[in-house]
Amino acid sequence: MIESPNLMSLAEQAKLFREGKITAVNNVKSHLEIINNLNPQLNSFITVDSKGALEQAKDLDKSRNNGDKLGPLSGAILGVKDSIPTKDITTTNNSRLLKNWKPKRDASVISRLKKAGAIIIGKTNLNEFGWSRPSELDLNPPPWSPWNSHHMSVGSSSGSGAATSARMVSASIGTDGGGSARLPAGANNLYGMKPTHGLVSRLGMDHNGHSEISPLSRTALDLALLLESMSGFELEDDMSWPEAVPNYVKNINKDISGWKIGVPRNFIDSAPNEPEIINAFEIFLNKLEDLGCKLEEIDLRGMAEARAANFIVLNSESYQRHQKSLRLHWKDYGQITRVYLLQGAFIYANDMLNASEIGRAFKNYFSKLLRDKEIKAIVTPTSPFATAERSRRPDEHSKGVNACYTAPFNISGHPSISLPAGFGDAEIPIGMMLTGEIHDDSSLLQIAHAYDKKTEWSKIMPKLVSNNF
């Protein structure tokens, strides 16, 4: 007898579908059952498209029965952050301004995922416009952590992270402008990747210049499957990478022994890391050594300036896009979001240009550091904090300390991946992060896959979920 598909990875679900051992319709139904059981409590989804998902599934079952060629994601069930436009499915950005917006077209990344056979089951929750902080005053209340229901889910791709770890979906798609996919991946025992800038086109969606569409999944192999399906050149996107997509899946079983990993110990020691984070970090380093990697302490510079530059760009671009609507629809914005958005009104062109120049300098510096030291990646925690609430202490949030490890690599464009690495005192997962060279996303996936095979994290699920099976 086959166990519930919800308990399997995306790759396993797709394999069983290809082999005719499960139907896409049944896979959708079993995921809808979990959504119906848990979403009222967790608020992971804003919109569940049961009808549309079942129609996609029926078409897939028919294609398979006809012997048609199937895509690598065929039969897999995805949740998509509600900031990414999906044709005929309401895309609210968790804002009253867009509560009835049904896009006429899919964003290009959604078209690619559908072409690969993925079934979009619904739209996942986020902070309003992926900005500010979670608030009961948004269109929908914020998502809660499936690991400890007294804690909020870390954002801004908070619903994507919660839905994936709660087995409501096979995997999910988020966005990451300063850590918004890697941070929830870390806090949900998931693999989450911000790809190299330009690899996954943002064509067809509103986005910040350094925000990347990012997959979140329960295994590293799933991440590779998703990234390969999402990537590719888009002629109409001037930031899109005009090269062939590498074979992330085919090449994932690489021998990583002897690979050098940089450990920026001095920088890490300067962050306000909680003890649980440091304990998990040391264990993670030991695991990398067990895998044959060689650790080398490095002097890492400019992380604070790069974080500051990313913060300035994010604030300025967000305000630029909302400035007219803020004047016209002030009362329709969440009370917290509209105040956050106004920060950008006090950033001037010169500040933006300085931020861009610093971003470029940091990008070149970090790439040179990797080259000169012959390092495949550097390792840091994903967040210095072990719960969402601790990361949002007002004094620290205004400085973006919760994103001290993640945000610098948004403005630099380097690929960066969060891996599961244990649990904190609140029984909420902790993530560790690897960041590598531009367009060497493959090496990160290969390290993550080797780590995944030697650890048990992928098999651990929230008690709230296991009680349903």
Binding site: R301, F311, L326, W330, I358, S398, G400
Partner: protein, 68 residues
């Protein structure tokens, strides 16, 4: 003193832009301390005309300090 003037200017600009409440202005001014810190930190790297950013002068800590 300088901070008070800055906040007053900002408050006046905001009231002309949107129907913002005094509580919201206070909240925003707190957030803008983060923006001001970021701009100040960036300015330490900006160079005079025709000189490039000296990466060796970049900070080594999370707070932007340099302990060399």
């Amino acid at each position: 003193m300088e901070k008070n003037y800055k906040n007053k200017d900002r408050s006046e600009k905001l009231r002309k832009m949107v129907p913002i409440s005094e509580d919201e202005i206070n909240d925003l001014n707190k957030l803008l301390e983060g923006v001001d810190s970021a701009i100040e930190l960036m300015s330490t790297l900006v160079q005079p005309f025709d000189q490039e950013i000296d990466v060796s002068k970049m900070s080594s800590t999370v707070d932007g300090e340099n302990y060399d």
